[in-house]
Amino acid sequence: MFQSLDFPGGRVAFTSEMSFIAESSEKRVKCYRVLDDNGHPMSSRFEQISKEVAVKMYSSMVTLQIMDTIFYEAQRQGRLSIYMTSNGEEAINIASAAALSPDDVVLPQYREPGVLLWRGFTLQEFTNQCFGNKADYGKGRQMPIHYGSNRLNYFTVSSPIATQLPQAVGAAYSLKMDRRDACVVTYFGDGGSSEGDFHASLNFAAVMEAPVVFICRNNWWAISTPTSEQFRSDGIVVRGQAYGVRSIRVDGNDALAVYGAIHAAREMAIREHRPILVEALTYRVGHHSTSDDSTRYRPADEIQHWKISRNPLARFRKWIKRNGWLNDEDESELRGNVRKQLLHAIQLAERTEKPPLEDLFTDVYDHLPSNLQEQERLLRETIEKHPQDYPADVPV
C-alpha cells in the first residue's frame, strides 16, 4: 500500500527498497559553453552582445593581462612587496562584471580586480593602492591588490578566505529591506568553498531568500592543493542543491558563456529573490602569488596547455575578429597604450608621498580615543629623538 509521511519541506514517500544515494552521479554536471576552442559559437542561442560591449570586454581583458604582467615584474624588481595575478581568469573577471549593473554590490575574494577595472577604477588608482601612497583610498593600510571602492560598490578585499560570503548575504539582506533593483555578487575559489563560511552562507541565503549570486572560480589549484585534495564532490555546482540553491556550471574561459550565465543569474536573483550559485571552470595559469613557484607542485606542460590552448583572450579574440570588430593594429595600439600608461602610473605612484603618520591611528574608530592619542604622541616623540631609525619618506 502506498504510504508517505508529512514532514516539513513536503511529502516524503516511503519505500521498502533500501538504497543509498550514490556519492556522485555517473555523469558529471555539464558545463555551459557558447564558443568552441576556435571561437565559433556552438549554437545560435546565446545572449548576444553589441560591438561596443564586446570590444570593451576584450580591451579590458587585455588591460588586465598587461596590468598583471607589469605589476608582477615590478614586484620581481623589488618595487612592490607582493602581487597576485589573475592570469587565465580574465574572462571570468570581465565578462561577469559586464553582465552586472553598477548598483550591484560586489564582494570579491582577491583575484577579481577585473570587476573594478570594468567599473572604471583607473590604472593610476590600482597602482596607488599597490604602492600604498597618499592617494590610495585605503590610505596605505592594506597589502597590494586589496582594492576597495565604495563609489564603485566594490567592498574592500579582506585577506581571510571566504569571510566575504556571509557578508554578501548580509548586504543582500540590506538590499532586500530597501527593495532595491540590485543584487549582491560575491566571488571565491575552489579552496574557499571548503570554509565553513561557504556552507553557512549558501544555507543562510537560501533560507533568507537573499538575492546573492555566488560565483566560484574553480581554477583547480588552491596554492598547492589541487581540487582532488580539496573536496570529493563533483566540483562546487552540485552543492547548490544541498542547500536549496539553483546552480549552473559554466566554462570560465568562455567570455560569452560567463556573460550569459551571470546575466541570467542576476535576473533570477533579483526577480525571484533567491541566491544562485555559478561555478566557472577555469585554470590559475599564474602562481598563487609572487611568493609562490607553482612549477614545484604542478607540471609545466599542464600550465602551458591552459595558457596557450585554453587561453580565454585568444578564444574571444577569434570571435570578435571574425565579426570584424577588431583588427591586429587596434590591438597592438591598445597594448602599447596600456603598457605606457601603467609604466607612467608606476613612476607617478613611486614619486607620490606616503600617507602621513597620523593615518596610522585614524579610522580605527570614528574619532581618535585618548589611548590612541597617547600612543601617537609617544610615537612622534620617539621619531623626533631617533629620526635616523625611521623611514624618511613618511610625512610626520
Binding site: R141, T156, T163, Q164, Y173
Partner: protein, 402 residues
Amino acid sequence: MASIFQAVGAAAALSSSNSFDSKKFYLSSRKSVSERKGSIFVVRSDGRMSSGRVDKLVTNAVATKADSAAASTASKPGHELLLFEALREGLEEEMDRDPRVCVMGEDVGHYGGSYKVTKGLAPKYGDLRVLDTPIAENSFTGMAIGAAMTGLRPIVEGMNMGFLLLAFNQISNNCGMLHYTSGGQFTIPVVIRGPGGVGRQLGAEHSQRLESYFQSIPGIQMVACSTPYNAKGLMKAAIRSENPVILFEHVLLYNLKERIPDEEYICNLEEAEMVRPGEHITILTYSRMRYHVMQAAKTLVNKGYDPEVIDIRSLKPFDLHTIGNSVKKTHRVLIVEECMRTGGIGASLTAAITENFHDYLDAPIVCLSSQDVPTPYAGTLEEFTIVQPAQIVTAVEQLCQQ
C-alpha cells in the same frame, strides 16, 4: 544604500538630552532616595541582597560632579522594570527612531530571544527586521558586517557570549578592521551583545568571559552593563555609535529590578560609573562583581572603612580620567573581576593604572579574579571560582594596612 528616516518626535525628545551626561540626569542619587517618600527602590539580584537596606546600597549613585539634576528629576516618577526589559526598551526605542536598526541572531524572532530581550519585537517590526538565523555564529556575524557596510545598523545577539568565539574571525579580522583597511570608506556600526559570565551551573562552555579574549581587537569598543539604568543607556549609545561595540550582559543580572526615568536618556560609552564615593580605597569592578563589591562595602563600612566603588563599565577603552581621579584621591586600588587571572580585564587595567598613576599608589594594585580553570558544573565548586564578598573585605583590610 539604506534610506535614512528620522522621526521628528524622537529627534525633539533627544535634543533635550543632547548634552546629556550620564552623571547628571539621574533619578536615584543618594540624596533623592531618602527624600522620596513612598517610592520603593529595590535592587533584587537572586537573593544576594534583600530589600530594605536601600539607603546604603544605592547601585547607581550620581558621580561627584555637580549635583544639579537631582531636584529636577524628582518630579517624574519613572517606571520600574527588570534589566532584560530595560535592554528591550532601549532596543525598541532605537528601532522606532531609526528604520535601519535591525536585530539578528538565533531564536530572536518569535521566540523572543533566549533571555527575552527581543520579546515582542518580531510581531511589531516584522521577520526581516528581527531576523532568526540558522546556527552559524561566524556567518551571521559576517552577515551583520556586510549589512552594516551596506548601510544598516544591525544588532547581533549571541545566545551566549561563549558562542561568539565561533565568530572571532569575523569580529577580529573584519568587524574591527574593515573601517581602517578600507581607508574609512566603509563603516561597521554593529552592536554585538549577549549574556556571558558565570551563571548557575551552566557548565564550562556556557560560563565564558569573552571580554578577556576580545579586548585586544583594535577597532572595537567594549562595554559591560550592570543595572537596568545603564543597560538601557548603553544599549542605546551602542546602537548610535558609528564604531562596532560589544555589549556584555551577564546571565545572572537579567532579573534585576530598578526604577528608571520615563524620559529618554543614553549613557556615555566611554565613562565609568561612580557607585559609591569614598576616601580610603578605590575598588574597580564591573558587571556582576559590582554587587559582590557593594555587599562587601556594607561590611567594610560597618568596620569603619570608606571605600570608593567605581563600576568601570567601559572595558575598552578604560575611563582613565575617572579612575585616575579616584586613584589620586585614595592611593590604593583593588580590582574585582570575574575574568580569569591570566589575560583578563584586570590584568590590562592593572598595567594601565601602574603606567599612568604609579606615583600616586601607596601600595601595589591588588586584583581579585577567578582562577585559571574551566568553570566546574558542581555548584559548590562553581562558587569557589567566583570572587566572594568575604575575599573582597579581606583584600581591602590588607591593602589599607599597608
